[in-house]
Symmetry: C2
Subunit: 313 residues, 2 copies
C-alpha cells in the first residue's frame, strides 16, 4: 500500500476549495476547506492553498506532487487558468508555476471535469477502457473523453463539454448563445424549475425544495407520476447527448456521475433504454453504461492521480 | 515527383467500384468502373477488382499497396467488412486478406468516410491539423475524426458517424430508430423532399428535379427566396452537429465536402454564422471552417494514402 506514492489533490470549487492528501483512490487526510469567495484576488487564495498544502505535508511524509482541478478553462500544457465562470479575477493566472514555486513540488492543473474523468478512468468505474466518455451531472453538466488510451483535450484544452452539446437545434438559449444545450435542461436548477412548472401545470402546488433532484428522486421512488415522468425525460435528454458522443467516438463505456446521477435507476434506466433503442450494432454491442465509482471526492482523487501521471512517477 | 510511391485506391460504392492508380493526390490512371450490382456474391466482385488491379499494374510499375474504402462497417485492424448498407452478401468478408492473397500486395480496408477524411487530412484542406473533424454531405452524411494527430476509430471502428448524431431529441425517426439524425434532414433526398413540401406550402408547383440540391443551389443564386431559406436551414442544422463535435472534441478545423457542399457559400455562410454565434472562445477562436479540397475522388485518393500509411512506406 505504502509503495503507492502520495500526492495532494485540490478540488477548486466556486464555493469552497477542498484539499486532500491522496494515496491511490483514498483521501488519507484533509485540510479544512477554504471558502473561495472570502478572497479578493487569486494571490491571496493561492497563498491560503499553499498554507493548507504545507500543513498536510507537515503531517505526511513523501508527498511528491500536487494536482488541481479548476471550474473553468485551463491550458493543461502550460498550467495557465484562462478564466473561471464563477470566480472573479481568475484570468490568465499561471497557476501551475505559482503553486510549484511556492511549494517546490511538481504541479498539474486541469479542468475539474477532466480530473473527475481521469479518476474514473484510472481508478474508478472506467478502469481498463481505452475509449471512454464520462459525464458529470450537477449544477453544470461536464465531461471528459478518453480516446485511444489518452485524454482527449483538443486544440485548446476545451474537449469534453458534453453539457454544452445541443439536443434541440431550436431549443433554449444557453450561456454562450447556444441553442438546446443539455445543461440547460438537466442542470440541477433547470430540473428543479421544470419540475415546478410540471406540477403547476397538473394543478399541484409545490415548494421549490420539493423539486430538487434529491426530492424528485424520493418522490419518484414513492410512485409520484410526475416525478417519474421528469426522470424519464431527463434520461431521454441525457441519452441523446450520450448517443451523439457514441456516434462520434464509438466508446466502450460511458461513466455517469455527479449529484443528479444519485437518482440511480430512475435516470440510468431511461438512459439505457434510449441508447439501446437508438444506436446501431457496433455502437451498442458491449457498450458499458456505468455509474461513477467516486462521488464528490472524484475531483480531489483525479487531480492527485493526474499530478502523479504528469510528473511521470 | 516519381519518388512518391504509387498505390491503388479503390472507392467501393453502392453503384460502382472505382479503381485508380494514385500518386500522392493525383489519380494517374483509372480502370473502367465496375457495376457493383452486376455481381451475385463478394467472391465474383473481388475477382473483378483483382483483374482491374492487375490491369493497372501491367501498365504501371512500382505499385506497392492497395487501399479500399467501403460503404459500411469495416474492422480496420483485421481488414474485415462487417456488413454493407446497400450491397447484399457482404457480411464478415475478410476483404483485406482476400485481396492481399490474390495480388501479393499489402492491403488496407476502411470505411469510405474515413478514407475521405484521411485524404483531406494528409493531402487536402485539413493538412497539418492535429485535431480535425470532416463531414461529407451526400445521399448519406458521413464523417471522420482526427484527434491528437491520429484517426479516431473508437472501440469497434465506428467513430465519425456525424450524420447519425441528433439535432432534435424529438425529431424524425431514422434508419436505426434514432431520433433527429442530421442525415434525415440534410441527406440529398431529404433536402429534395423537404424543398418540394416548402414550395407546395407556398403554393408553388415544382417537379422533384427542381428540388435537388444542385437545382436549389441554382435557384438560390437567382434569388429564389424559398431556396435561400432552405439553404439557411440546412446550414443551421449542419452547424448544430458540427457545434456538438466542437464541444466534445475542440478541433482546430472542420472540413466539409461531398455533393451537397458544392452549394458553397449558400451552406458555408450559415454554418459559419451559427457556429460563431453558438460556440465560446476556446472553441471558436482560430477554428478553420474549410471546404474539402477533393471532390468525388477523395475516396480513391484517401484509400491509396491510407494503404501507404498502413504499409508503413
Amino acid at each position: 500500500m505504502n509503495d503507492i506514492p502520495l500526492a495532494i489533490g485540490i478540488d477548486f470549487g466556486g464555493t469552497s476549495v477542498k484539499i486532500g492528501a491522496v494515496r491511490g483512490s483514498e483521501i488519507i487526510d484533509r485540510a479544512p476547506p477554504i471558502a473561495t469567495q472570502d478572497f479578493n484576488n487569486p494571490e491571496e487564495l493561492i497563498a491560503a492553498m499553499v498554507r493548507a498544502v504545507e500543513d498536510l505535508r507537515s503531517r505526511h511524509e513523501g508527498i511528491i506532487a500536487i494536482g488541481i482541478g479548476m471550474p473553468g478553462f485551463v491550458n493543461f500544457e502550460k498550467g495557465i487558468v484562462f478564466n473561471l465562470t464563477n470566480v472573479r479575477g481568475w484570468e490568465n493566472i499561471p497557476l501551475r508555476d505559482l503553486l510549484s514555486k511556492a511549494t517546490g513540488l511538481p504541479v498539474a492543473a486541469d479542468n475539474d471535469a477532466n480530473c473527475m474523468a481521469f479518476a474514473e478512468w484510472k481508478l474508478g468505474a472506467g478502469k481498463g477502457y481505452n475509449h471512454l466518455v464520462c459525464a458529470s451531472l450537477g449544477t453544470g453538466v461536464g465531461g471528459g473523453i478518453i480516446m485511444n488510451g489518452s485524454m482527449a483535450r483538443g486544440a485548446r484544452f476545451g474537449a469534453g463539454e458534453i453539457g454544452q452539446t445541443s439536443i434541440d437545434y431550436q431549443g433554449r438559449r444557453g450561456h454562450y448563445g447556444n441553442l438546446g444545450a443539455l445543461e440547460d435542461y438537466i442542470g440541477n436548477q433547470e430540473i428543479t424549475r421544470d419540475a415546478l412548472v410540471a406540477y403547476q401545470a397538473a394543478g399541484i402546488s409545490k415548494d421549490i425544495e420539493d423539486c430538487s433532484p434529491a426530492a424528485l428522486s424520493e418522490a419518484a421512488r414513492h410512485g409520484d407520476a410526475i416525478a417519474i415522468e421528469r426522470w424519464n425525460l431527463i434520461g431521454r435528454m441525457l441519452a441523446t447527448s450520450l448517443m451523439n458522443a457514441c456516434w462520434l467516438l464509438n466508446p466502450e463505456a460511458l461513466v455517469i456521475g455527479g449529484g443528479v446521477a444519485r437518482a440511480g435507476n430512475l435516470v440510468f434506466n431511461p438512459v439505457r433504454e434510449h441508447l439501446l433503442k437508438q444506436l446501431s450494432g457496433p455502437f451498442k454491442h458491449g457498450l458499458a453504461i456505468l455509474p461513477a465509482a467516486f462521488g464528490h471526492e472524484a475531483g480531489t482523487i483525479g487531480a492527485a492521480a493526474l499530478a502523479l501521471e504528469a510528473a511521470k512517477i
